[in-house]
């Protein structure tokens, strides 16, 4: 079973995403802060990271930068799930090495397809 790290400071958003992912057959590890996510990543092997951007303590950008600068983690597929919809944020996020950018609120269909596509691209690449 593939493990997905879901990092979001909003409990409701974590809950809905977690429910969907369970239904899709993934094992979900939740984190509410960037630093929490990094701690989990250092302890667990993860197949996909879903990362929010606007978070207290350590935001998404910083977290992504640290993940991508870590050779052990930099190859893990990463999708940004953020309520920031402006081009600047999208460009910045993708520029840090994220594989996809999904704006909230998302449609389940879009969400599912994006995860599937990213995982598929990651495995075929490897």
């Amino acid at each position: 079973m593939q493990q997905i790290l879901l990092c979001d400071d909003d409990l409701m958003n974590r809950k809905v995403a977690s429910k969907i992912l369970h239904k899709e057959g993934f094992c979900v590890i939740e984190a509410s802060r960037g630093n929490e996510a990094l701690k989990i990543l250092s302890e667990h092997a993860v197949d996909l990271i879903l990362m929010d951007l606007m978070m207290p303590v350590m935001n998404g950008y910083e977290t992504i930068r640290q993940i991508k600068s870590d050779p052990m983690l930099c190859r893990i597929p990463l999708i940004i799930i953020s309520a920031l919809s402006d081009t600047h944020s999208i460009d910045k996020g993708l520029g840090l090495g994220a594989d996809a950018y999904v704006t909230k609120p998302y449609n389940i269909e879009t969400f599912r397809r994006c995860i599937a596509d990213t995982l598929h691209a990651g495995t075929s690449h490897v």
Partner: protein, 681 residues
Amino acid sequence: MPAPLMFDFFHRSLRNKLLVAFIAIGFLPYLLFLAYALLLSENKILNKTVQEQYDQADMIIHVIQTHLHLLEKEVLFLSQLDIMDDLIADDIDKRISRLLTQKHDDYELDLTLLVLNTHEQVIASSNKEMLFRPYHLHVNGNRSRHYSIAENLLYIFAPVTASFDTQKVLGTLVLEYNLNNLDSYLIHQTDRHAYIQNPESGISVGDRRLFNIALQHQKESLIAQEHLIVYKELEGMLQGWYFVYGVDKHIALAFLYDFIRFMLYLLPFILATVIVVAVRYSKHVVKPIQELTRITDTIISTKNYAAQLQVSTRDETAQLSNSFNKMIRTTNEALQYLEHENRIRLQRFVQLIDIFNTIIQTKNERDCIEVSIAYLQELTGISTLHFSPEHQHCDHCIALYVNDFEHDNKLFYGSISLDLSRFSDTNEREFYRSIATMIMLQLDRIRLIERTLLASRAKTAFISNMSHELRTPLNAIIGFAQYLITYEDLSDEQLDSIANIESSAQYLLGMINEILDIAKIEAGKMEVHNQEVDINELVGNVCTMLRPLAEDKALYLNVIDKHYRNGRYRTDPKLFQQIMVNLLSNAIKFTQTGGITLELSTQDDTLVLAITDTGIGIAPNEIEGLFHDFTQAAGVMQKEEKGTGLGLSLSKKMALLLNGDVILESDGIGKGCRAVLFIKI
């Protein structure tokens, strides 16, 4: 010369006045002298001349009288000779005759000497033919006078007495004298002439042809035609005779006429001299004035105040010239001083502008103060001049104040240690005060810019945060709703309710997006990303996206691109599509039957997209209002077909961002509507 011209000649020139005055003054004595000579001297000279003629006449008369007197004496002498005793014999006496002849010959005159006896017979004579002839002695009046005149003969006689008895008269000695002899004493010249005349008998001696006048007793002189004539009655033997003496008038009055001629000859010389002197002197007098005028004109035309008059005399004109020179010198000095002042002021002004330019370019308060202090140190030469944020002894420094924009009053900012009272010149103080004012204005400006920037940033952050914060809970709502619909096995009623939640959330999301877009445009934060696009493809995408909505309502959706010139144009595809979606979804939303025609065309550099529907239409007076945010939208929102009321307004704003516009046309309620999008491509 006509009178006004002469008047003009006299009044237009000081020199002409002087000329006239000099000529008048110089010529007047001559004219007076001439008039005196002509009017008064003529009489005097005439009188004098007449007197001279009298003197001349007297002299001649005296000579004649003396001559006759001598003859008389001779007669008397001869009558007393002893020889005369021979007369007693009463016959011809040869001895006496011999004596008389000798005497006669001595005289060489036309005269006859004879001796009469008591019987009046000639017994002795110088003329032999007369001997012993009776002789009538013409004695008019008494015999005691011893002379008488008959015709032109003068008889001088003396009784001859016996030497032994003087009482015994022996006879008479007679001298028969022809008065023509006197002719030799008279003057017979061409210019002067004399004769004697007896007016009673009309007999005269001398030539009377030159002038013949009727003698009158009353007057003794007269001027007859060409002559000045004087006459005098003679005395003694020639009593009853007149001496007439005439002089050619031209000779007599020669002096007078010579004088007048001389004066007339002199006239041109005097006139010439007077004119030359007048011209030269008036020139001399007027020259400094002319020079003054010339210099003044030169100064006026060249603006050269360094010009000075040459002063060569020491008179009033020289004083005037000196005063003028002094005035010009003073004016020139004043002008130069002003020019100098002006130059300094201009330099100060340029400096001030330079300083202002530098100060105005400073980006923050620290730079502004530093630059200003550096300038002030350089300008004043006070190296200790500094800025202090503290209150100093502000009598000796310039206090800086800035605007407190929030409370609309002034705040103390700091002070510059420059004592303005050290400058005596008001301009200097004003200069530094201007710099201080400039510093304060720039501080205000910097603060205002910073405030504006801050406000702008805050607005942007607010929009961004709002967007994020509103979307986050919406994500959970939509997510849970879709989760239930997708994964849970629900009853139809439950499904319907959940679907309502989901669509309401989607509607809310749309509204939030539109509000945020409008806020973004108004804040100037909406970014336009122009790129080369295929318009047909964009239109196709939108149509594909919205066609299901039209088909749900059984509406047709036709696309016509009759006048469309195909090509790749530059515009922002995202905004273009967003506008088109808004307009097309509006058209579908407000149309129940019929359908929508989409017409694509190009006019020059403008793309025109017209969306015509057969929908409910709009009252013409409401069209304008539809472009306002919310305000007019309220009416629409109450109707069945919901809309945010922001769609048209947002579309127009976006079209403006793309250098285009959106207009709405309708023939009225129920007659459909036509929305047209213009975009510069």
